[in-house]
């Protein structure tokens, strides 16, 4: 494949070495260049990702609807076949009902939200183990841009950090590289919500005199990033108040179940009307977590 003379080979290697040096020396410019190169390549990879995600979903449905139920049907062959068939159908119907329920909630949520939003499906996870991020099936052509906020009816999911033509990377709120301004709902104190290495979130830089305590809800403050004010982020589980510290901080359990994301909403225009109906959001049942 790469047959060439030794002179050409040397020139190629020198050029590649120069390119790599340029990447390290000029990170911003090289990001732009690489982004341009990636534009035609990304859709080629997005298609198999979507196909594999669909295959994965259907195989999981089959597993849950058939194999998992198979152990129950040991008593009678005839009954087993009958029950198997019914359970298989039931499993598929339940999956359809569950999907319909989720999508209805998403549609209702989109209707209530006065900002412009785009619904997207999670089609994959981050390619490395170093970031907590997901791939969604909406990109540049759908109006998705970097820094836009991503939510579910249960709460904040994260923000868009990279886009291609037809897909985007969403950095989850539990990633240590993510930072969102948060507000303690009861005390109205502001802080910064960051992910932790352990996969949870933490609200930092809370005033030392704040009466914040475990059980308090944290919502978006709307000051920075792609989120309007009042979206639920999570619940504080513990507070760290060390003697001599200038601030206090607290651990948060996110409201959205980030391990089982399937559909999300991307806020494409958060600042048009930042008066989300926070109260009605609170009445929404949290996304169900499976054990």
């Amino acid at each position: 494949m790469f047959r060439s003379t030794s002179g050409t080979r040397r020139v190629t290697l020198v050029l590649v070495a120069l390119l790599l040096s340029a990447l390290l020396v000029l990170p911003t410019q090289s990001q732009r260049l690489l982004q341009h190169i990636g534009v035609p390549l990304a859709p080629i990879v997005t298609l198999p990702i979507e196909a594999l995600a669909a295959l994965d979903r259907s195989l999981r449905d089959m597993w849950e609807g058939y194999v998992a139920l198979h152990e129950v049907h040991e008593e009678n062959l005839r009954l087993r076949r009958e029950i198997e068939l019914l359970q298989h159908q039931n499993g598929r119907l339940q999956e359809a009902a569950s999907a319909s329920q989720r999508l209805t909630a998403l549609l209702e949520f989109k209707g209530r939200a006065r900002s412009q939003t785009v619904a997207a499906q999670v089609i994959g996870r981050e390619t490395t183990n170093w970031y907590r991020a997901v791939v969604v099936n909406k990109g540049d052509v759908d109006g998705v841009r970097v820094e836009m906020g991503v939510i579910t009816p249960a709460g904040v999911v994260g923000r868009v950090v990279k886009t291609t033509r037809s897909a985007s990377m969403v950095l989850l709120v539990t990633d240590p590289n993510n930072a969102i301004t948060g507000l303690i709902q009861r005390t109205r104190d502001e802080g910064i919500v960051e992910g932790t290495a352990q996969g949870l979130a933490r609200v930092k830089y809370l005033p030392l005199l704040s009466t914040v305590r475990a059980g308090d809800r944290v919502v978006t403050s709307g000051l920075t990033g792609g989120f309007p004010r009042g979206l639920p982020i999570g619940v504080i589980t513990s507070i760290d108040k060390m003697e001599g510290d200038l601030f206090q901080s607290g651990d948060i359990v996110p409201d959205a179940d980030l391990t089982r994301l399937e559909e999300v909403v991307i806020i494409t225009a958060p600042r048009e009307e930042a008066d989300w109906d926070a109260a009605s959001l609170q009445t929404q049942p949290p996304q169900q977590r499976k054990p």
Binding site: L34, P48, D56, T127, T128, W130
Partner: protein, 173 residues
């Protein structure tokens, strides 16, 4: 045939990595297919192919990663290159040698990630080493050694056929 295989690796491994590979994760850690592929291609076919294929796979991986656009490109290119160097200079490689080599290269690549992601993210470096760096290196080494064993067996068989009465084995050396 070789081109088709390389294209499949470049455009096929990342979709697998982002979707179905989460089913084989242990404690949330998955092996890095592109890293293993770059090392093995380098080892079996040479420095240049390992390096260029590593660059290509790393770039595609970067497009679907939350990190900067050069991190995987540089690390995968480097491990492909080093895999090729190992293939050229290591005589009588065994599965155990491959396991140790891939473990070392994965640790090296992970350290670059740790140093790059570290200042903004994992402040507790020892936690990152225990939770991500070491488990991933072990995963990569185990998978890579298994694949090496299969590939080496195949190469040996082909060599034996060619070295038979015709003595064509010299062609693939």
């Amino acid at each position: 045939m070789k081109r088709l295989l390389y294209l499949t690796l470049v455009f096929g491994l990342v979709p697998i990595q982002t979707t179905v590979l989460s089913h084989v994760s242990v404690g949330g850690i998955r092996p890095d297919l592109c890293l293993v592929a770059a090392i093995l291609v380098g080892f079996f076919t040479g420095v240049r192919e390992g390096f260029l294929l590593g660059l290509a796979m790393g770039f595609v991986q970067d497009l679907f990663s939350a990190g900067v656009l050069w991190l995987n490109l540089v690390t995968k290119g480097s491990v492909g290159f080093l895999g090729g160097v190992a293939g050229r200079y290591v005589a009588n490689a065994t599965t155990l040698t491959a396991l140790a080599g891939i473990l070392g290269l994965s640790l090296m690549s992970g350290t670059v990630f740790l140093l790059t992601v570290g200042p903004a993210g994992f402040r507790d470096a020892s936690f990152a080493v225990r939770a991500v760096l070491l488990p991933q290196a072990m995963w990569d080494a185990a998978l890579g050694a298994g694949l090496y064993w299969l590939l080496a067996k195949r190469v040996r068989r082909q060599r034996a056929i060619l070295e038979g009465p015709t003595g064509l084995g010299s062609l693939i050396r």
